[in-house]
Symmetry: D2
Subunit: 139 residues, 4 copies
């Protein structure tokens, strides 16, 4: 599944990311996935910390499905992609891949919800923000 | 889905687990899930560090599907369950739940593979180990 | 340096704590130290999350000096101590040790400040809280 | 203390680095410090993973003294410096600073030892490696 309109960024594997099995600890791949989503959002000139400060609203992960295909190791340079598949009223469906040495090592389906940080109830993504995200839906 | 034969253990939420959204960081729920799987394995008198030291073999996560239903907060006491659904030649299918104040807050389907830590190729789970795991399949 | 009046608690080392050097990642010892401080505070019936919710005040670390004497490994059970050395107007000096198999593996001097979480300016520790802490100064 | 011969690199603060106090979790500053040391070593064309693979030797932290001056927040871009102060037979003394918006927010004294990863006994830093490190002593 190769997509247009996607965002990619590189992240280095440091000691902190690995475990005594000699490879990246499984939960830490989700950190790389989140960094890429955050950098993607930033690349759209949307400031998450500003949305929190102003409205106390934030994007939170509702579900994730991750396949760990090959392990990454210390010093590896990972390329992480972000592809918006769908933008709903209060949610976003994202598909992500992690590559190392041009080989896919992980893939993930992430469901994001826009919520009020006090109640954790879903909130409508405001039109201007939604328009930006819609324009980035990968095809 | 309530199961028999399952394992449960409590884990506390500390500052390290939370993020600036005020709740547990999404990837950190996977740490709680892994701690419970490790403590479950230990409760069966299987030593993972011994299996690594002797055979350089280990259980690694091949895929995970996690639903984040409600957030956990600082100081919360989480109850994490482990239910073996199926034991294959080189793999185990596990279902886990996380509870807080008797309410389910996360559920996860985890696929584990038994691999050689050098090649990361799947290895047959040896009979004695497999028998123990099979006897714990949740019903 | 053996102290009276101190608090001790055990914490298990999981995969998440280790790195590809085969031992606990150096920054993660600070997590074990902080868990013990938090559990010590909880044992005094002081709720940190309540103090934050009510007053937006919290204890934060101003400085730490940690000696890593021996490494801890996967599955190790660590015993972590907390000894209050001094309680100031807005600060606490703490000495901590980490033991594994009855041997000291780390020791730490921690300086804590009580701050307003908005301004991060030091705030006077209120008398009732200060009295409880003073009564626990290790001798 | 401004030094010549030092190494600097920028690192972004993500959700994973923060805690529910709204700022970077104290132990996570040590991750940023370690990333900078690793990237510094890499900039000298020294491969830590190769030294481990070939000789099972590695640089490990023996002690650290960290002052947390101001907190960093989500989305902050941190500039982390590495200054070698002294190179011994089996050890390195390093001074590091973390800056945010051109203001110093943390400073750290780190003592590194070169050890055998099996015994964790100190090992002489081999001459070629020592010469490279000596040439980078900050003045």
């Amino acid at each position: 599944m190769r997509m247009l309109n996607n965002f990619c960024k590189e992240y280095r594997v440091y000691y902190e990311d690995t475990d005594s099995g000699g490879v990246v600890y499984y939960a830490n791949y989700l950190k790389f996935l989140e960094r890429a989503r955050t950098d993607f959002i930033r690349s759209l000139n949307i400031s998450q910390s500003e949305i929190i400060a102003k409205h106390n609203l934030a994007f939170v992960v509702k579900s994730c499905k991750v396949n760990f295909i090959k392990p990454a190791k210390l010093d590896d340079l990972l390329l992480v992609s972000v592809n918006i598949k769908n933008v709903g009223i209060a949610s976003i469906a994202i598909y992500q891949e992690i590559f190392c040495d041009s080989k896919i090592i992980s893939k993930a389906e992430i469901e994001i919800v826009f919520v009020d940080l006090k109640s954790f109830k879903p909130k409508k993504i405001e039109k201007s923000l939604r328009d930006i995200l819609m324009s980035k839906v990968a095809i």
